[in-house]
Subunit: 359 residues, 2 copies
């Protein structure tokens, strides 16, 4: 059994995928859909994004049991005009509609050059970078925009209007790994504030305000509804962009307005709506040449002389890709509590222990 104090128990990615899929299958998710959801979650684990990894299986199970997530995803076409496509995600695990949607976006971008695919009535999507990277691996540039529960106020305000409004893009590369940008437009995600409270550490300036909107570094005075946008008004403008493309345009709920006939809203849903934009770079220059240029830009960044105190200059997604390489080889580190949670769920469906690789 491979274990370390810092990173927990390491499990092989394929064994973890099968296990997560087994649990999801146990609550009625069809095999192919369960495999797809599990793949998305374990990719996040491999990339070191534990918040969007197998950690979410228990949440999905509880939502399926509570009836706020459908085990079997039925995707419905609302409107198809070629370069634009509107889908209904059937309130299944967001990954099923998400993968379907990004694959359509890639296919339509190849046909028309540019394409926009929207999804409404979906649920938790996992990491947006999973979808944009999937397109980039196919040689297609993609962007993703998603809105969600109304918890974050506009810049300068204290009334919740927005979610943490994540945005992602990914860029095909050649010898280098694709560039993958995948961020919340808030300075931090809410769970980092909760962690700082548990640890009693002061939080950096610019993370959050108290309930009156006064900036604070005290994690106990800081409010979840006081999360700040990255880069002040400029980051807020990006959050507005996300709200418009993911909410208004997709006929989903947006701001403080609920749209649609779903009984499940707000935090129960996580994704209100999302939009994928895809662009076939080969319409502009040969794909191989584009890939080489991406490599050149990556190396321009990486070869920049570092500022004082900086170890290395990074491109978006580089840390996560290194982590993916390392964990694909050495296994996914899972905290003991998560392992216990998964195995307790697995036991309900006759699954044994998650196999540990021999050390």
């Amino acid at each position: 059994m491979s274990a370390s104090k810092e990173s927990g128990v390491r499990t092989a990615a394929d064994a973890l995928r099968d296990y997560c899929a087994g649990i999801l299958g146990g609550v009625g998710v069809p095999d192919d859909q369960a495999a797809l959801v599990a793949h998305s979650l374990v990719e996040a684990d491999l990339r070191g994004v534990a918040s969007h990894g197998s950690n979410l299986v228990a949440l999905y199970v509880s939502r399926i049991r509570a009836g706020s997530m459908q085990p079997r995803t039925e995707i419905r076409v609302i409107d198809d005009q070629g370069a634009t496509l509107q889908l209904d995600g059937g309130l299944g695990p967001g990954q099923v509609a998400g993968v379907h949607a990004i694959d359509r976006a890639v296919e339509r971008a190849r046909e028309y050059g540019v394409a926009a695919v929207s999804v409404r009535e979906s649920t938790h999507l996992g990491a947006l970078g999973y979808y944009t990277l999937r397109a980039a691996k196919e040689g297609v540039f993609a962007m993703a925009f998603q809105n969600g529960p109304t918890i974050v106020p506009p810049f300068g305000g204290i009334t919740p209007v927005f979610s943490t409004n994540p945005v992602s893009y990914a860029v095909p590369a050649g010898a280098e790994a694709p560039i993958v940008y995948d961020v919340a437009t808030t300075a931090i995600a809410g769970n980092k504030l909760i962690l700082a409270r548990k640890q009693g550490d002061p939080i950096p300036e610019g993370w959050a305000s108290d309930e009156r909107g006064v900036p604070t570094t005290d994690p106990h005075r800081a409010s979840i509804e006081g999360l700040q946008w990255f880069g002040g008004h400029k980051g807020f403008g990006i959050a507005m962009l996300v709200e418009i493309l993911a909410g208004l345009l997709t006929n989903s709920s947006f701001g403080r307005t609920e749209i649609g006939d779903s009984a499940f809203t707000g935090r129960e849903r996580v994704a209100k709506g999302y939009l994928f934009l895809a662009l076939d770079v080969s319409r502009f220059l040969p794909l191989d040449e584009f890939r080489q240029r991406t490599d050149t830009l990556i190396r321009d960044v990486r070869d920049s002389e570092p500022a004082q105190g900086v170890e290395r200059v990074l491109v978006p997604g580089e840390i996560e890709h290194r982590r993916w390489l390392e964990c694909s080889k050495r296994g996914v580190p899972l905290p003991a509590a998560l392992l216990a949670e998964l195995e307790a769920l697995g036991a309900e469906f006759g699954l044994g222990a998650i196999p540990r690789p021999a050390d």
Copy 2:
């Protein structure tokens, strides 16, 4: 003569436009193109964005005289595949190719749903918001991405790789003014640093570093090549997005790589390349309904309770729109030095004084 100490002399927008067009005509810009460039510049003045206003006429004249900007713009189609279109801007004033390109983007978005129009071999574009707002007024959502001279290092580095990489989007609204986002992806534009030096004021944290990459609030230690991205690594990721869409994809120069056969590069050009993305919102929902939803979102933001110390909560472009309304009525305030500069140029071409509205 209308004048105030704070805002300089006020001139009527139409008179200022005619005067700027007259100067540009004097150095050989065809009448229709001169009118178009002047319109873009005076719109920026009206919106209070003086850095992109009639202030630029002298620069354009000097570049045309030096031969690094062509007076007569000949736009060439490099490749036309319907939803994607590549143009050559003929190294004329960027506004001529820019307006042509955004109009094509609107037209193609209406035809295909989504469209991408790229321009290379162009020059200074003025404010990007001018183009996206033009599309939004037509009921089409648009985004703009532009790269430029290699002056700003990547996040964590000190070797220049990027420009200030502006990005803009604009959103059709109904009773409200369109949302217009138009920002440099650096925390500030370089001219604000130069102004702080002149005034001897300390600069806010996060604006700039010294030449070793050490953050500083001393405007004299701060380096123009040490401009920081808005919101740290998250803002840097937006700058990368701009570099990829405006540079790599458009077959223009990017990062530290020069591409193309132009003799004019770097700061002489300002725009290396740019891309407009346009999306016909009526493919997703009736335009009137979209407009109403934009209004609702704008009001959700505006009606948010302000944080302590904040007077009012704003949407992107709101301040500029208010300024536009005020200046359209009361005239464009021009500093005395700018007025003198314009009239000295005008005198070379037999133009008299810029008419001042009667007070």
